[in-house]
């Protein structure tokens, strides 16, 4: 139980550092640390399949994409555009109001009193695979088409234009 609060503290700290660090490269590194704490959360919930997928997809693929794009652009602290202090204060107040509204609405829920994991084996690869390939077979196939079209779209967008009017 103490582990959950420790990891939660780390998650909140790292995600705050992501948005408040001036250097974009450090932001990406803190984002990776945040994703790692999310993986620990999944392990704690006994969702082992999601922990592995989160580790591979977020800390592998998405991290490499962000780092490559950042390093292609040669950004650093001096070129980093910042908003004025007034806008920052207004944004933090707006976010705080959102948080207070959300937590205040959670206080009205009493159906959330359950504090035990019902079937701990539900997040294992075997059980999740059975559900994925029986009830969710069509969405699974459609998501493969989505990934293919996203790949074609990304290549098409990032390709250098041969004509000079682009």
């Amino acid at each position: 139980m103490i582990l959950f609060y420790l990891v939660s503290l780390l998650t909140i700290t790292f995600s705050l550092l992501v948005i408040f660090t001036k250097n974009p490269i450090y932001s990406v590194l803190y984002l990776i640390a945040t994703f790692f704490t999310f993986t620990i959360h999944y392990v704690l919930l006994n969702a082992q399949f999601l922990a592995v997928v989160n580790f591979i997809v977020y800390m592998g693929a998405i991290m490499v994409l962000f780092l490559f794009v950042l390093m292609l652009m040669n950004l650093n602290k001096e070129t980093e555009p910042m908003k004025s202090t007034l806008i920052k204060i207004i944004a933090v107040i707006a976010g705080g109001s959102l948080l207070v509204t959300l937590i205040g609405s959670f206080k009205q829920l009493d159906a959330l009193g359950i504090s035990t994991i019902n079937k701990p084996e539900i997040g294992l690869v075997e059980n999740l695979g059975k559900v994925l390939f029986s009830d969710f077979l069509l969405p699974f196939e459609v998501s493969s088409i989505l990934l293919l079209s996203a790949m074609v779209g990304a290549v098409l967008l990032a390709k250098k234009d041969k004509t000079d009017n682009g």
Partner: protein, 109 residues
């Protein structure tokens, strides 16, 4: 693995709700206070992850595997979204030599 599960079993579901709300709010604040398009993109990823964690927590506590399957689909969607979004940012950088979103207000006119 068993002692992990028994250690988490005493955490109320409310605390997962509060943690996810805090991280979602941090993502919203990040979108509002930064002008670098890539950092805004990272804040969107933070928000997606907060929702993923909450879906997984509900799924584990209620013993229903559908929530975790949805999280899997959201992860596939996030990968596609990051690929297309970063390609758009690369195009913007190539045309304007900057990732400042304040330059991108030409669509207003």
């Amino acid at each position: 693995m068993d002692n992990f599960v028994s250690s988490i079993q005493t955490v109320p579901l409310n605390h997962y709700l509060i943690l996810s709300s805090i991280i979602f709010t941090i993502g919203v604040i990040g979108v509002l206070i930064r002008r670098n398009a890539i950092i805004i993109f990272m804040s969107v990823e933070l928000m997606l992850n907060a929702v993923n964690l909450l879906l997984t927590a509900f799924s584990a506590y209620y013993g229903d595997a559908a929530g975790q399957v949805f999280v899997f689909f959201i992860m596939a969607l996030a990968a596609a979204e990051v690929a297309v979004g970063l390609a758009i940012i690369v195009m913007v950088y190539r045309n304007t030599s900057s990732v400042d979103i304040n330059i991108l207000n030409r669509l207003k006119w």
